[in-house]
Symmetry: C2
């Protein structure tokens, strides 16, 4: 068998029930933050059956905590490990990281769900439940592709490093820990829900909190106070200007169809305690998008500079400048050349299976790809089944057909990228 | 004794310790909402000693609840009565209501106070504690003036109706209940802290809550959503326009030194739950000032109309118009002619004691005067010791000298307004 692809595709076509059942079990172990262990146990069991070399460890040592890219408010990682399973190649091929996160966002309001949020129910070709799209469907596609290759007796030349990490939804400490542990490769694929588009570039983002001071007064003599809400509106307008200026610089054709490539989102505004008092403080929280090729520090600086401009123009702000905190989430941007060999391999196999060229875009959100690229020097493409729109919503689901189609494309890409050892194969 | 004034003033001058001690005890019984009974007990004791006819009753019957001016979220009034003490005149004089509220606002943050908020501590001529200025100092001035008159053996022709009511800080249900019970008079004085200015007119006010809808989206694709904070800013700008238009109509010379006679205050804005989500709802709370001569309904209508204008101009609002609720506090405005006989009497006696004409202004806040005037058809002047600035703040205090000066002016005004029965006096 010089070309193992037909046999692998045949296996993938014949064992879909197995893939569906595995996803179902994985969704049913609702792995919200701090409760990832049961879902990881299923991953470990699967890796063991596939014969991968397992590396299971609790993250959270001093090296991680002191790393400049570390971002987490979690105090306790015990009992909820990172899992890496390595399929060692026979040598002479390129290595590939296959990265998926096991953590899911909370289910939100139970009443918004038609079924139990962790039902794993299958209906009309869709599998329902929190995490089905983001991104257990993607992780199952990875493992199912690997299972197809291994079950077909194929031996790869390059190493495949499958990673099931925690903490992606909260700043990427799991992937960062894996990079620090030494996992790097010639390429990486992260099957986040891209709706089967290829994302060589990803928007990064950071959260900010801006505290704006006012001066309290009775509402009946409001002219004796300074209304913090009115001052916060000035800050918002200034941030809108900044967003406009930053996006005018985004000339990469990948963004040509995106109205605002790197948005600044005003997500929260809290001010005041009493209808008839002038509020003396307003707190704005939001996120600033970071361009794929931009340093996080640069985006930080531009926001700080624009607030300094505002302060210089306003007598009240001169005395009480808005205070900025960078808190909570930080997602590194990622950027890969559009014609990188990994992009080409993935595109060719997409075309082979789908019959047309894939859509290539930039993602509007950060992934762990930013850490793999910027810290781990590993080229990353984000590509996977499922649509973002349902990802953090009630009644989250994944189209199973798409998940299996992704697995086929991933399997062919693994074969091409890592290379097949035709000698070993026959043994 | 044809002119009893010198004797009354002599008594008032000689018994200040008694007045101070009474205020001290009254402040020490911190009568926040729902806990007015102990302070009312002291008032009752004082009225009894003065020989007033007492009327003590728990408010809260169906007539009150169904009255159009009723405004309260309090469910239980039991155990915390209204108190009225009447000094019946011998006949032929004008009657006078002396109205003070016993309820005080909460102490706020304990750590902001130098002493216990209910210490009643006297230092450098000031008596400290929650309610000292707003308005137990005023009520003590009333009772001390009455005590001076009664102790000097003076008999008045007209009735004096002293009222110690609950609920002023929460919408005026106490005074409304007294009006419904039948208490009306030819004039009324309310010694709220006006800093010894005469307020023939008072600004009324109402609270509003405006709920603005948006559409949620991920912050990275914020252009797919509608940011409720941005839409709320449009509402705020529209309210600012309305405030401007309403105040341009305020040509009464009483307001000539007031930058914004009837302000619209944006007191609170709450929106969003997550920095990187587009918020789908914003809630604005505020208060709209009501002009002294304006109907509450008119102010309501102008606010509703301005939001309808906004809705007509905005495609999103056409589908999702801002929702208005009128909730919580409502304070009726009050208005008396500047040359009303009660104004003249009070002014003359002020000039007599202080040596210059009083300042006459319009109050920037509502008082129970609005209810006395609009529901009880009783002409009201608001005049009292203490300054608004410290009223709801930590370390609230009253200048005792000012309280006693107010008592003198009030005593002389009672004598003039009600008239002295020189025949009965000698008996």
């Amino acid at each position: 068998m010089t070309n193992p692809a037909p046999a692998v595709l045949q296996w993938l076509s014949s064992n879909k029930d197995r893939g569906t059942r595995f996803l179902q079990r994985l969704v049913q172990e609702g792995s919200i933050r701090g409760k990832e262990s049961q879902a990881q146990a299923l991953i470990i069991e699967k890796c063991r059956k596939l014969g991968l070399s397992l590396d299971i460890w609790e993250i959270g040592d001093e090296v991680l905590f002191k790393h400049p890219a570390y971002c987490s408010d979690r105090k306790d990682f015990s009992g909820n490990p990172n899992v890496v399973g390595v399929l060692k190649g026979t040598g002479g091929g390129k290595s590939l990281i296959l990265n998926g996160h096991i953590d899911v966002v909370p289910q939100g309001n139970m009443e918004d769900w038609e079924d139990d949020p962790f039902s794993g129910k299958v209906k009309d070709g869709r599998l329902y439940g929190r995490g089905s799209t983001d991104m257990k469907g993607g992780s199952v596609a990875l493992l199912y592709a690997l299972e197809g290759i291994i079950s077909s007796g194929v031996k790869l030349k390059g190493d495949v490093i499958f990673q099931s990490v925690i903490e992606e939804e909260s700043g990427g400490a799991g992937t960062l820990a894996a990079v620090i542990r030494g996992y790097r490769a010639d390429g990486a694929i992260i099957p986040e829900p891209t709706n089967m588009k290829l994302f060589p570039k990803q928007q990064g983002s950071m959260w900010f909190r801006i505290t704006v001071k006012g001066r309290s007064a009775h509402g009946g003599t409001r002219y004796e106070g300074i209304n913090a809400i009115e001052k916060a509106v000035l800050v918002i307008h200034k941030l809108q200007d900044l967003e406009k200026r930053r996006n005018e610089k985004m000339v990469d054709p990948l963004f040509k169809d995106i109205p605002i490539p790197i948005p600044i989102n005003i997500g929260k505004l809290q001010s005041g305690e009493w209808p008839s008092s002038v509020p003396d403080q307003a707190v704005i929280e939001g996120r600033i998008g970071v361009a794929p090729s931009e340093e996080m520090k640069q985006a930080e600086k531009e926001l700080m500079d624009c607030l300094e401009e505002l302060t210089a123009d306003d007598d009240w702000f001169k005395l009480h400048p808005p205070q900025v905190e960078w808190f909570g989430g930080r997602w590194q941007p990622g950027s890969l050349e559009k014609d990188h060999p990994l992009m080409n391999t993935l595109s060719e196999n997409y075309e082979k299976m789908v019959g047309e060229k894939p859509k290539i875009e930039a993602s509007p959100w950060g992934t762990d790809g930013g850490i793999l690229t910027n810290v781990g020097s590993t080229p990353v493409v984000v590509f996977g089944p499922g649509v973002t729109e349902v990802a953090h919503d009630a009644d989250e689901y994944i189209e199973l057909g798409e998940m299996f189609r992704a697995a086929e494309i991933l399997a062919l890409t693994i074969l091409d990228w890592c290379g097949v050892d035709t000698k070993a194969e026959g043994e």
